[in-house]
């Protein structure tokens, strides 16, 4: 070996085991011998072998080396350029995708707006044709179904992720953790809040401006909460129109409120709720009924006990009495579903919702 282990490099310092004299201890030192070999014999053994074989030099040796070095230089600079040229290209592609997403989102919002305008026109024309009791009943049903914008007194609950990122549990240097901190508020909390509100007599609920209907689902995908397949982000504002005092009382007394209060103190999420005198909730754009068809009119009878009540996983049993008998037969698991029992809202003596077509 050319290289004397002078312990100059540090890495080769411990590699003083003599491979020749260790025949009796081959097995025990086999793995370390492999590492020693890796650390000490860094030169390709071919050079030594070729030198020992005393090969004559060929006339093509020099051009060969020349070509080899040329190839190395080419490779280096190509790899460098590739790395630095493809980075802007990737960024451009990313930006392009982002702009396309934004364009499609705004186009979707525009069409949404248009659909709402048209729906309002349809409703206005229909109201002009209809008269009296039928119209009032229809309006109540529309409020329950969420197809019209509504306003009225209610409560507003705001839950937000902590502004200061929580110290993550993952070990490692600063800045090596994932940029996106694990969110503390999940769909379950939002769902529980919504369920408590439904069960305490809310007549219309929206989450971050998305009105909940009978088929709404609050779900969790990746790191974000989806309401009816629309992503919402912190802070989450849940607004409910209904009997303000009763909803406030029921909510303040609910397990989810206590859990959120604890989380506020321990984990630093923001959480507050208050009664509001005038809330405005938007409407859902399109209500497509794929399977349900109009049947007997019994289901819309005032005070009709038919139909399941909203799910009450939030804990509070429904205080609504006879109007809400059947409990918790929730078809969409995990979805906050006011279900077909919503027309019961129309049976309350003084509906606190006033319709407002937009």
């Amino acid at each position: 070996m050319i290289q004397e282990p002078k312990s100059a490099g540090g890495a080769a310092g411990s590699g003083a085991a003599d491979p020749a004299g260790s025949s009796n201890a081959v097995r025990s030192t086999w793995t370390t011998a492999l590492l020693d070999d890796l650390l000490t014999n860094t030169l390709d053994p071919g050079y030594r072998a070729a030198a020992d074989a005393k090969q004559r030099s060929h006339p093509w040796d020099q051009p060969l080396v020349w070509l080899g070095c040329l190839a190395v230089g080419l490779l280096l600079v190509t790899a460098y350029q590739q790395n630095h040229r493809s980075a802007p290209a990737r960024e451009a592609a990313n930006k392009d995708l982002i702009t396309r997403i934004h364009n499609l989102q705004s186009a979707g919002a525009r069409m949404d707006e248009q659909a709402k305008t048209l729906a309002a026109q349809v409703a206005a024309l229909r109201d002009a044709q209809l008269s009296g009791a039928g119209s009032a009943e229809l309006k109540n049903l529309e409020i329950a179904a969420g197809t019209v914008a509504v306003s009225g007194p209610g409560v507003s609950i705001e839950v937000g992720e902590p502004t200061q990122p929580q110290p993550s549990a993952s070990s490692g240097r600063d800045g090596t953790g994932s940029q996106q901190q694990v969110s503390l508020i999940h769909d379950r909390q939002i769902r529980s809040v919504v369920n408590v509100l439904w069960s305490s007599g809310a007549e219309a609920i929206s989450v971050n401006g998305i009105r909940l209907t009978a088929t709404s689902a609050i779900r969790f995908a990746g790191e974000s909460i989806l309401v009816d397949f629309q992503t919402i982000s912190t802070p989450y504002t849940i607004q409910a129109i209904g009997d303000r005092d009763r909803m406030l009382l029921a909510f303040a007394d609910s397990p989810i409120a206590r859990a959120l209060k604890t989380a506020e103190q321990v984990q630093g999420i923001s959480f507050n709720f208050a009664g509001r005198s005038d809330l405005r909730l938007g409407s859902v754009t399109v209500v497509q009924q794929s399977y349900a068809s109009p049947g007997a009119s019994a289901s819309i009878a005032p005070g009709g006990a038919a139909g399941p009540s909203p799910t009450t996983t939030g804990g509070q049993p429904s205080p609504r009495g006879s109007a809400r008998t059947g409990s918790g037969s929730n078809a969409t698991s995990g979805g906050a579903s006011p279900s077909a029992g919503k027309p019961a809202a129309s049976s309350s003596p003084t509906p606190s919702i006033t319709e407002s077509h937009q």
Binding site: G9, T40, T42, C69, L70, Q82
Partner: protein, 110 residues
């Protein structure tokens, strides 16, 4: 000396002509560069040791690049491409360091 000139010429050629790399080669380029560096440092050290051999140099360069690319390719196919790349980089990195240390001892006697 002539090798260094060739290296510089290679760099200049690359800068001037800006060769485009086919997309399927792109993942193997970084690992090929590390393998090529290993061959270069080995060659320089052999030169300083006085046992340089052109054939060994070229063959080790080509085979290093090919084998490194092959390992990464196989790793990609088996789903352990990242880990195998790490293994290749670690082994070649150790060799590069060892050779660089030997070259340093030759040049500076330290």
């Amino acid at each position: 000396m002539i090798a260094a000139v060739a290296l510089v010429i290679g760099v200049v050629v690359g800068l001037v002509f800006r060769p485009t790399v086919p997309l399927w080669i792109e993942p193997y380029l970084p690992i090929a560069v590390v393998a090529a560096l290993d061959a270069v440092f080995g060659g320089v050290r052999a030169q300083l040791d006085g046992i340089f051999n052109a054939k060994v140099f070229v063959v080790s360069f080509v085979s290093n690049v090919l084998v490194a690319a092959l390992i990464v390719f196989m790793g990609d196919k088996l789903g352990v491409g990242g880990q195998l790349s790490t293994a290749v980089v670690v082994v070649l990195g150790i060799r590069i360091f060892g050779n660089a240390a030997a070259i340093r001892r030759h040049l500076f006697r330290a």
